[in-house]
Symmetry: C2
Subunit: 207 residues, 2 copies
DNA sequence: GCGATGACCATACATAGTGTTCAGTCATGA
DNA sequence: TCATGACTGAACACTATGTATGGTCATCGC
């Protein structure tokens, strides 16, 4: 039915990719809100009609970029969320590794993630996407906590899900501030150390 | 020079107040971004020209509302930031009182505060305002921590300012989620307990 | 080769919002 | 009675969004 000239099948339309690439590049230096569709398509070398053929709007394109970025995010946090296959790792070290991987993810995708953090409040689609992501991380963290007798002993009598959600959102905020270059979190070492410190204090205060 | 008909002096122009009141009311149920100047002036019963005479735009009006709301905020946190005049209060109890006062402040001014949290990322003026506020709270918290030998013993070797900033931003985020009705923080008891728990764990882990 | 198909583009359009301008109204105070 | 200053209403230029139209061009079946 379609007139294809390259790969035999399952080839994501090239224009679509070009738009997403250009959009991601622009977001590295520009605000989502300040970007117009005109600028995006100019950078992508694509017509206005094509853009609206592939995406319902700016938001929809951003949503796609976010989905791709956080897809990698799940793997990033895995060292801590899925306790080592064989050797029982020190939870503190695993946690630090997860936090560090999160920092890498955020800095690599700073533009896209900054954009959704600033936009999910005013767009239903983006809100659902982001709250869903946070809920996923929260659930993973809560599960990991509940599997840890030491942590559970400390948290006795408190709402584990709420604590897990707090720590998740603390991460979101600090990573975001780092991506915005707000001190003192623009210093990656400070960011990771501080986040790690609060998580550890909350979960394993015995130290 | 001006033709006044009421109070003798220092009378803030009535139209300006009407705009601010209407704006605050609208923000209780609507998003800042989704509100147009047309709607605001319609609700206020004021002409477009008058609006732009008193405010440079939507953002400037919001900034004014935020300044007024957080003016009260400084007092709200005072029980903890400025240790009691005479009797040495239990820092944990004082902290809880401060957190609870913060919750009251946020719920009273939910619309305005939600608006700035969602907008400071894309407006230089609002950014400066909000980051300044957070810096103020952070400084107060850091000072309070440094005055407390018990807390300082625990935090030995870590960046106190960074920890104070983390806890400040954690508060910002959790209060915001509560104002948005995001579970589990839409439950005020959970909000206050969890925030209190993380602060205490981080600062006074001895229990 | 020939016509159909579908991807793509340029242009134009309707709609909506922003911020400015300007002529005009109306109460007050001199 | 006139001048002043607060305020309005309407129009304007500009920018952005999302849609609709007509046309180009490569490819495919035949």
């Amino acid at each position: 039915m379609s007139a294809r000239r390259d790969e035999p099948a399952a080839n994501a339309p090239e224009l679509r990719e070009r738009v997403l690439d250009a959009f991601r590049d622009l977001l590295r230096e520009r605000t989502f809100e300040s970007l117009s569709v005109a600028e995006i398509i100019a950078a992508a070398g694509v017509s206005r009609a094509s853009f609206y053929f592939y995406f319902a709007g700016k938001q929809a394109a951003l949503a796609e970029l976010v989905r791709r970025a956080v897809g990698a995010g799940h793997q990033a946090a895995q060292p801590w969320t899925e306790p080592g296959t064989a050797a029982p790792v020190d939870p503190r070290a695993a946690l630090r590794a997860g936090i560090d991987a999160g920092a890498t993810l955020w800095l690599d995708n700073a533009g896209v993630l900054r954009a959704i953090v600033e936009s999910w409040g005013s767009d239903p689609q983006l809100r659902e996407l982001w709250l869903g992501q946070m809920a996923t991380f929260t659930a993973a963290a809560a599960e990991r906590i509940q599997a840890d007798p030491e942590a559970m002993r400390r948290l006795a009598g408190t709402d584990v899900t709420a604590v897990a959600a707090s720590l998740t959102w603390l991460g979101e905020r600090l990573y975001y501030l780092a991506a915005c270059g707000v001190p003192p979190f623009d210093d990656r070492a400070v960011l990771v150390d501080t986040l790690h410190h609060v998580w550890i204090s909350t979960l394993y205060p015995g130290g």
